[in-house]
């Protein structure tokens, strides 16, 4: 059987949804912070840089646990969100998006920052003298020239989110149809006595997806060089 079963289909759709949303919510922050780190000099820049890159080196389980502390039912932010807005993050698909976003953020930030650094800052100054306000100059010149790097970062983050396991299972657990993304589903099947065939199918799917994202990002990176 080539076609996915309904269960596999649910997993696949959830994984793609989490991946895409994680890219969408990280992007504005990555552009803002990437710009700050690329163009501004201030005290504490190293610390900010370190904090942004921390999720890259921390064990994902630690990230997931910290998120739980912060956004869990009794967490500081979690209480505010649920009392004021009635939004539940922990143990929901929203939490899965957040976990993937936090873990994938350094990858995107790095790509965006490098892309912005490679744009000659004088071009933006020239745009200002031609009548563009700062925001307009940034979006029409710097960000536009940095777009290939931003795309590469987005694809990397997307690919990373497809593989996110530790932070997700710690923060939002493994709930079928809600937070069970590809790696979690594979993990579940492997732990079932007769689940190996099903796991193998998902492993293959996972490889295809990740490889596709990586090839796409490499293709963009190459195109950018030319």
């Amino acid at each position: 059987m080539i076609f996915p079963t309904p269960e596999e289909y649910t997993v696949l759709v959830l994984s793609l949804k989490v991946g895409l949303l994680c890219v969408v919510i990280s992007l504005p922050f990555a552009v803002l912070l990437g710009w700050v780190l690329a163009r501004k000099n201030f005290r504490g820049k190293l610390i900010l840089d370190g904090l942004c890159h921390l999720p890259l080196v921390l064990p994902p389980v630690v990230v997931g646990y910290l998120l739980l502390l912060l956004l869990g039912r009794r967490g500081f932010l979690g209480q505010i969100l649920s009392d004021w807005f009635g939004v539940q993050v922990a143990f929901t698909w929203r939490g899965a998006v957040l976990a993937a976003a936090v873990v994938g953020f350094p990858l995107m930030l790095r790509a965006v920052r490098l892309a912005i650094e490679s744009v000659d800052p004088r071009l933006e100054r020239a745009a200002r003298t031609l009548g563009a306000n700062p925001l307009r100059a940034f979006f029409s010149i710097t960000l536009r020239l940095a777009t290939p790097g931003v795309l590469v970062g987005s694809l990397l983050t997307f690919a990373r989110s497809l593989g996110e396991f530790g932070a997700t299972i710690t923060f939002v657990s493994n709930i079928a149809g809600e937070t069970r993304t590809l790696p979690l589903a594979i993990f579940t099947y492997i732990n079932q006595p007769d689940g190996e065939a099903a796991a193998a199918r998902l492993v293959l799917l996972s490889i295809i997806l990740s490889l596709g994202a990586l090839i796409a990002s490499e293709a963009i990176a190459r195109k950018m060089k030319n």
């Binding site: 020239a126 200002r128 003298t129 031609l130 009548g131 010149i141």
Partner: protein, 353 residues
């Protein structure tokens, strides 16, 4: 009229400028690192003065005490940079219209087609700037700045990155902008020859201070200006009368010059670099050089490691000669000599006003 009174502390010295430019074209001359680029950045709002004020006609661009500091996009200063800074992701046409699009229709003084024709950019419009030559790029940068209908065009050594042939080709465009479009210009250069083709009004800048300001020919011989000029290849300047498109008259002698567009009868200045003058003791035969001016040696001096021989040819000319040549020819003060000048070593300057 541009009124400048600014102070700004820089790493090496303080920039301290207090001048008023009433002429349509004023040039700022000075050695590298004298603060020229900083001054332009202060005017266009890319840098902030520590104190002072900047205004054009009745519009205040910056006023420290009143707390006025217009951002660059509100100043309407056309800034042409030394590196053209064209936007690499836009076509030539999009580059040209980048600033134009921000203007309200009532503020647009020039039609894009007029400027495209003037700068002969018609065939380049759909090209990517990266595929243009240096001269073409600089023309696009010029057009892009003009199309913002600026109050003032400031140009930061726009020709420095180009070779001599390209410089000669762009200069007529600059003269067109000056004469036909009527945009006031502030032209920064460390090449007097370039400046004199546009204007005689010069501000001489050194280490952030204005050394002199006024008509080049009246300030050039001031003791504090001369060394600066000499350090940059002194340009001899002679007032001449145009008698044909490639000949001028000086003291009853005819000099051959490169083709120029001035009408016969016009009095203009021509410039000759000190190291483009060859001295000889007799009028030579069988040489291709057309121009030979007889004169007497006034003085032989050494400045900045160079030997300059001053010759009285009706006006004072400086010629750069090696010490060996001075010894071999036994050049002494009072000797008659002939100054040989190649036609193409002569630069066409502004009209004598």
């Amino acid at each position: 009229m541009l009124t400048l009174c600014v102070h700004r502390q820089l790493a090496e010295f303080n920039l301290e400028i207090d001048v008023t430019c009433a002429y349509p074209v004023t040039a700022i001359f000075g050695p590298s690192g004298c603060g020229k680029t900083t001054l332009l950045n202060l005017i266009s709002g890319l840098m902030r003065p520590d104190s002072g004020q900047i205004s054009i006609d009745d519009t205040i661009l910056f006023h420290a005490e009143k707390g006025i500091d217009l951002p660059p996009e509100k100043r309407r200063i056309g800034h042409v940079f030394q590196d053209d800074l064209l936007f690499p992701h836009l076509t030539v046409r999009q580059n040209l219209l980048y600033g134009y699009q921000f203007l309200a229709p009532s503020e647009r003084k020039f039609h894009p087609d007029t400027i495209i024709d003037l700068l002969e950019l018609n065939t380049l419009l759909d090209r990517n700037p990266n595929l243009l030559s240096g001269g073409e790029r600089q023309r696009v940068a010029l057009g892009r700045a003009i199309l913002t209908s600026p109050r003032l065009l400031v140009m930061d050594e726009p020709l420095t990155a180009l070779d001599q042939e390209l410089k000669d080709r762009i200069m007529p465009y600059l003269r067109h902008i000056r004469t036909d479009l009527g945009i006031p210009m502030l032209y920064v250069s460390h090449a007097i020859g370039e400046i004199l083709q546009l204007t005689g009004q010069v501000i001489v800048l050194n280490r952030g201070q204005v050394l002199a300001h006024g008509d080049f020919f009246s300030i050039a011989h001031q003791p504090k200006i001369l060394p600066l000029l000499e350090a940059h290849g002194f340009e001899n300047v002679l007032p001449v009368e145009v008698i044909a498109s490639n000949r001028v008259q000086y003291n009853n002698q005819t000099l051959h010059i490169p083709p120029c567009d001035r009408a016969p009868g016009t009095h203009i200045f021509i410039g000759i670099r000190a190291n483009d003058i060859i001295l000889c003791q007799q009028r030579p035969a069988g040489l291709s050089i057309r121009n030979a001016l007889p004169g007497r040696i006034l003085d032989i001096v050494e400045t900045h490691g160079r030997r300059l021989v001053y010759i009285d040819v009706g006006k004072r000319l400086a010629a750069e000669v090696t010490p060996e040549a001075i010894r071999e020819l036994a050049l002494t003060i009072g000797d008659p000599v002939i100054c040989l000048i190649k036609t193409h070593a002569i630069r066409i300057g502004p009209d004598v006003s």
